[in-house]
Point group: C2
Chain length 566, copies 2
């Protein structure tokens, strides 16, 4: 069992978070968590960042974990954690590991069903935890007796499963002293069983040797399981083309000579589809097909596809368990010769669209979506963190080839509008050295607008593009093109930075024409202030891809007797 | 079973909402609910009101139901309804009936576990409903076969239990035609069993006759069950003094000659406590004692207290079921002589504090909490709807005697900060004729600020007081008086109306002194614009009651070894 030392429960939790590489706890104070906030303040290297509300805290923690590997959120019981639940569910859907800590009522009230504020005053203290049970992989309400073990159990599950976990810390036990293990908690995972890994590697080696059309297909877990480097190495050593689902945008460099393109059933370019669906050795890294990344379920992977997950490999009638994806992939890599210069496979023609670096602006022409994204493609730089809000931004950016080492953040599966502004905050908290660029529509922006205040007050300097198209353009293409319910109030967006953070100077501007866009970009490019650029766009101007998507979505959502047939 | 007619499922749901007295559906559009939005638009007398996000929609629906008796909210699946959950839980805790409708994915995806966006892409469609199960009294995922019956079952439960219910409307069934009952659904409830009601009335009559110190004690259910008039009549006919819990502020006129005051255990004025705890006939209307309305559980009601709930009366060893509270109370009233002029019971001395209508402002003196609330007491008028946000506003307003027929809206049990601004929107939607006055602190305001946009855009003209004390003052009194975690960014609040609704003129001002307050009030008083008045207050200036409350809360929350002892 190792050696033990003394610690308060709260200090131990802080200590463990730090050991797991978390340096910020993001959240909102409340009376049930103030005592833990004091303990965070007392922990060197751990800082509390207050957000304006709890949903925003969850989104920010999600953004933090996507670049930092793991994050922590702190809320207060009931009112706080339930407000954050949608953000936690988003992290659950998109495989983002986040430690959700809530300051809970004093433990005697919970154990003896004593009604308190922030509860339904009926003595029921299981309801909030039951909600979190649905969207986290481990939950606990800490007690004096089990705190040390429970904290470690839950943090390990978070890292292992790459999904949120939930800890209730009753407010009156945080300062109690317990025995805690001296041994640090690390990001180390259980290694695979040696024989199973070897058998799996040998099997893959054998299959790969026979293959004439090998391929890799990646979904977001390639990123979440930190496999992108080893996958890239595998592709290069064995000269294997790789494709990704649209839900795995840029997890491996789209400029890579072996990048085939995006696979999505009949939504793929013909060559990509043909190659993937006829591969004779296909490792598919945890693909999850939903309607929007599969051309409405038209995916057709070969029947002998090798489905690789964190801890197993499954094929039609075969399975390897007791492995880890990392060990199997690196074992396979090690069995291959060093990278050599090989001719690229013939199929590598349908590559990602080329970026036009000679974009010529038409100075007085009104800004359009088509031209905007062409221009932005040339604005991006390697290492940028580019964040695309659901709606026109994400759809358009999916068609833009991003530079090497650029990170793309979006929420393609859960798709909660408003997610990206707080996610930007979280990503900045983890790494403000990299340039951050956010694209967000007005409808989405209004959901979580207040977090702009925190971004500015923290001194961050992202470039924020606010696409003002006066409502929910993506929905107008599905139903209700001119319906009032798709309108949003037209704010003076560019005034907001000044109002929300009067003491920090920002660069703000409103762009109507291509000429104005050029001017804005030239200022924003190497700015030492936050840039907030409002782009005026027509409500029905949209990326080409959205237009087809709208009709398809209406058919799928409303069926043959839906309103669109009336 | 009555007669049937044909209707689409969506149109029938709209029809039922209207029959139950709902004229507005508050929410946020999403692709899974656009088809139902079309059906709302097609329903005369039913209007969709879009809010900036779903939590705000839930708070607004809560405010709407508090004045209108019942409300309806519309969200989209997963991202929408989970965002609203904290607001729904608040309505559950505070007994507010709200119909939560969510546009769900097409029914075939839910029935056959097909992964879609706004889900965790794992074929699990029970998780969202499971969350709502914890905070609603009835839930359903409608199907073609059961929709008519399920809609009626769930709406009846909402009205009967005075708590939220949850309806998932799969997006592809809204336009399907079904048989629906011709008979309207109304707010009618099951009547009590005739003999049980008569027996209960007779029992109460007998007890009351023998009583020398009768009393009534009211909690918020007196309002939610629409019993305030009959309770008032009972008090007057039988000359029975009544007290209320602080969680039932002003549900019966505090200026009433029979009003004893607020009962809260050792937090009560001595006379109130003495009278209630020694009453020999005490009808207690569903009191729910939590730490903050009971002087930390020091309530001590007589052992033979008659606990009256919606559908039963319980006393030590006796119970009456098969009754309704309304029938029992009106039966008791009917058995009593008409109201006569009787001498008030001796105890009526410790009444609610008198309002000083001759407040003399000290023109150049800085605004203080103590003086602010004295002044506001004289500003209120009968019929006002006064809304007090959690924190200093609610605590201070609890000590202010409100005018007759004024309605007070707060969230004393659930206590979710940010609740009141959207609740103001909801209350205004139901009844903009009455003057609305909101008091909200800066910390709370930041959580839900965007809904100010909707309030202005709807053309409403409330008076909003923004108490700027630069952070969470209530928390500073509990722990972390000068801790950074209790600070919030200082916005230019008074600029917000212009930024969020540039085309509507509002009256905005910043008040530092008592003189400036007078000026602001004289303009706001009969204004035909929305008034937004920022009150500058010292961070540690607080109502006297808050000061004691903070220390008590810290003791209760953190226990004997908490941070305050370090």
């Amino acid at each position: 069992m190792g050696k033990f030392m003394k610690s308060t429960i709260g200090a131990f939790l802080c200590h463990r978070l730090k050991q797991m590489g978390v340096n910020h706890v993001i959240g909102v104070p409340g009376d049930y968590n103030l005592e833990f906030l004091e303990q965070i303040n007392d922990t060197e290297g751990l800082e509390f960042i207050g957000t304006c509300n709890e949903l925003n805290a969850a989104y920010a923690a999600d953004g933090y974990a996507r670049v930092g590997g793991l994050s922590a959120m702190l809320t207060t019981y009931g009112v706080g954690d339930l407000s954050a639940l949608n953000g936690v569910a988003g992290a659950y859907a998109e495989h983002v590991p986040m430690v959700c800590i809530t300051g809970a009522p004093p433990i005697h009230t919970m154990q003896h069903a004593i009604p308190v504020h922030h509860s339904a005053a009926d003595g029921n203290f299981s309801n909030v935890l039951n909600c979190f049970r649905e969207f986290t992989v481990a939950q606990t309400c800490l007690t004096y007796a089990d705190a040390a073990q429970e904290i470690d159990r839950v943090l390990r599950a978070c890292w292992r499963e790459k999904r949120p976990v939930y800890i209730q810390l009753p407010s009156d036990i945080a300062y109690l002293t317990i025995d805690v293990p001296e041994q640090p908690l690390t990001r180390q995972l259980q290694q695979g069983d040696e024989k199973s890994v070897a058998a799996c590697v040998a099997y893959l080696q054998g299959s790969l040797k026979k293959a004439k059309r090998p391929a890799l297909l990646l979904d977001m877990d390639a990123d979440r399981l930190h496999l992108t480097e080893v996958l890239c190495e595998l592709a290069e050593r064995a000269n294997i083309p790789f494709a990704s689902l649209s839900s795995a945008k840029n997890v491996i460099d789209e400029n890579h000579p072996l990048f085939l393109g995006v696979y999505g059933g009949q939504h793929s370019l013909p060559d990509v589809r043909e190659y993937i669906e006829n591969a004779d050795f296909l490792i598919a890294l945890s693909p999850r097909f939903i309607e929007v990344n599969s051309g409405h379920y038209t995916q057709a992977l070969p029947s002998d596809t090798l489905y690789l997950h964190a801890f197993d490999l499954l094929q039609e009638n075969r399975s390897f368990t007791g492995i880890t994806a990392y060990e199997v992939l690196s074992g396979l890599v090690a069995s291959l010769p060093e990278k050599t210069h090989q001719a690229l496979p013939d199929v590598i023609r349908s590559k990602a669209p080329k970026v036009n670096n000679n974009f010529l602006p038409h100075e007085f022409e009104a800004l359009t979506q088509a031209r905007l994204w062409q221009r932005m493609a040339a604005f991006f730089r390697p290492q940028d963190i580019i964040i695309g809000e659901n709606g026109t931004s994400n759809i358009a950016l999916n068609g833009v080839t991003l530079p090497p080492q650029a990170t793309y953040i979006a929420q393609p599966v859960w798709g909660s509008i408003g997610y990206t502004l707080p996610a930007l905050l979280g990503s900045l908290l983890h790494n403000a050295q990299r340039r951050h660029i956010l694209f967000i529509g007005d409808g989405s922006f209004q959901l979580t607008v207040q977090e702009l205040s925190t971004i500015i007050a923290q001194g961050f300097k992202p470039i924020i593009f606010l696409l003002n198209n006066k409502g929910y353009t993506i929905e107008r293409y599905i139903l209700g093109e001119s319906a009032r319910y798709n309108d949003v109030n037209n704010w003076q967006y560019s005034q907001l930075p000044k109002v929300l953070s009067p003491n920090v100077e920002c660069f703000t501007t409103v762009v109507h024409t291509e000429g104005e866009l050029e001017q804005a970009l030239s200022i924003a490019e190497d700015n030492h202030k936050l840039s907030f650029i409002e782009l005026m766009l027509d409500p029905m101007d949209a990326p080409e891809k959205l237009k087809g998507f709208g009709k398809k979505t209406a058919d799928f959502d409303y069926g043959p007797y839906g309103p669109q047939t009336l």
